[in-house]
């Protein structure tokens, strides 16, 4: 199991041909108190860099972009009733959606944890 990161502060946990996607702890700190998460519908096919989800804090709405292309297999319904999970457990329980990896080459452009740490330092 590998975890990769994007420069837009998303994480992807790769398990076989499925990636679980969320936003990083750094991102949730920048956003502040999350009050609403708008998730994509399961079955939707996302193109890399397309707006896939929205995270809203008291003050503002921020887009979450698809880090890779593929079909949305499952979304985390728990975030609808408990958006504050994004603040308390961004890189764990507050995953956003699972996506079927359409093109493994797209993973090549992502960062490992050390590179992401350097990116946010």
């Amino acid at each position: 199991m590998t975890t990769l990161f994007t420069s837009d502060h998303e994480w992807l946990r790769i398990e076989g041909d499925v990636a679980t996607v969320g936003i990083t702890d750094y991102a949730q700190q920048q956003l502040g108190d999350v009050v609403f998460v708008d998730l994509p519908k399961a079955g939707r096919t996302l193109k890399k860099a397309e707006a896939a989800a929205v995270v809203e804090s008291v003050k503002a709405a921020s887009d979450v972009y698809a880090p890779i292309s593929g079909e949305v297999l499952e979304v985390n319904e728990e975030l609808s009733s408990e958006p504050a999970l994004v603040n308390s457990d961004a890189e764990g329980k507050a995953w956003f959606f699972k996506i079927k990896i359409a093109d493994r080459n797209e993973l090549g452009g992502l960062m490992d944890e050390a590179a992401y740490k350097a990116h946010t330092a």
């Binding site: 502040g32 009050v35 609403f36 708008d38 809203e56 804090s57 008291v58 003050k59 709405a61 958006p83």
Partner: protein, 381 residues
């Protein structure tokens, strides 16, 4: 920090204190202001409603208006030419909400006017203060001196504990009622204290000599019930209280009647009143008061959890191609634990309970016209 046009941002006297308290500073109305502190917008909002919050609002304009005759009545009459409010009847020691109007009946700014016995004390919005001063000079300088009080800072202490906290520094504070205002000693300093604010909570605004502002702010923050509150929570608090934000909910294109602010216009300035009209835009404003305005500012409660924000278009139904209105303020109300918004709609769609739809990211979300304030105010009347 630079503003968009590379003009250096101004700082209030409390800038160093904000930074030391962990504030995130942002540009606002030409100033570098705290948008939030370490606690974050949500906690700051809830703390203000539960205990007390301290706000630095020193960016706002404070102006003394003195009649050359020395009679405060002459200053009141001069200022009445610029606002649709009765200021002559404003008693010494009292404060009132008002609007500067233009010839079309639009709102140039909203303001607070207090009668300090021998002169008027006016508080205006930061973004408008230069234009407001020029407007005052252009129209009242024949009979009045317009004196911007640039050497004063302005603090707001808001929330249910505000009275008992301020009482420790100003024994007279508990004796004030909502909209009482006047010079008072606070911690021995020459302050102007009013029982008012912009949160819907009981509370006070304290004008303090700029040099002593930090000293007073630190003294108030010593109380464990007081948290510093940034502009983020100031905005969510005023939104829940149903209060207008100038430049968003009201501007030069909205009249006081469209903005549902006719409660602030006393009878004497209305048709048939002792000093009816006589302010800019009176024809439009008094006609709208008599026969109704084409559109009205209304409160909106989204039925789902998604915040509906400023700029969202409003539709009469799911399929209509033409919008019927716009959201002018919107976000999440932490006390309600639900989204809330304000906007303008045609008057026939303004009754409470009317179902409308707001377009958010291409989707039509159901919203309902709702009474404001969304959270009941707790003013000590």
């Amino acid at each position: 920090m630079l503003a968009r046009d590379d003009i250096p941002l101004k700082r209030t006297r409390l800038h160093a204190l904000h930074v030391s308290l962990g504030a995130k500073m942002v540009p606002f109305a030409g100033y570098e202001m705290p948008v939030q502190y370490a606690a974050g917008v949500l906690k700051e909002h809830l703390h203000t409603r539960q205990k007390a919050g301290l706000f630095d609002v020193s960016h706002m304009g404070q102006i003394a208006l003195r009649a050359k005759s020395g009679r405060v009545e002459d200053a009141a009459l001069a200022l009445e030419r610029l606002v649709p409010q009765d200021l002559l009847a404003l008693a010494a020691g009292r404060q009132r909400y008002a609007q500067f109007t233009n010839e079309q009946g639009g709102i140039l700014d909203d303001l607070m006017v207090a009668n300090f016995g021998d002169h008027l004390f006016v508080v205006v919005n930061a973004a408008c203060k230069g234009a407001d001063e020029a407007h005052l000079r252009a129209h009242v300088s024949g009979s009045c001196l317009v004196e911007p009080l640039a050497d004063r800072a302005l603090l707001a202490l808001q929330g249910p504990r505000a009275e008992s906290i301020l009482a420790k520094f100003c024994a007279e504070a508990p004796g004030l009622r909502f909209m009482d205002a006047g010079p008072r000693k606070v911690a021995g300093l020459d302050c102007f204290v009013s029982r008012s604010g912009y949160t819907g909570e009981d509370g006070f605004e304290i004008s303090v000599p700029a040099q002593q502002a930090e000293q007073l702010a630190k003294a108030l923050l010593q109380d464990p019930d007081v948290l510093p509150i940034g502009l983020g929570a100031r905005d969510s608090l005023r939104l829940e209280a149903g209060l207008c934000l100038y430049g968003h909910d009201i501007d030069t294109t909205t009249t006081p009647i469209e903005a549902a602010l006719e409660w602030s216009m006393q009878k004497s300035r209305r048709q048939g009143g002792a000093r009816a009209g006589g302010f800019f835009g009176a024809d439009t404003i008094l006609s709208q008061l008599a026969i109704g305005a084409p559109r009205r500012r209304i409160g909106l409660k989204p039925e789902g959890r998604a915040p509906v924000r400023e700029g969202a278009l409003l539709f009469a139904n799911q399929t209509a191609s033409e919008p019927i209105g716009t959201v002018t303020s919107g976000g999440f109300g932490p006390t309600l634990n639900a989204p809330v918004a304000m906007g303008y709609v045609p008057t026939q769609l303004s009754p409470n309970g009317t179902q409308l739809f707001a377009e958010v990211r291409g989707q039509r979300l159901p919203v309902r016209v709702a009474a404001t304030p969304f959270v009941p105010n707790t003013y000590k009347r």
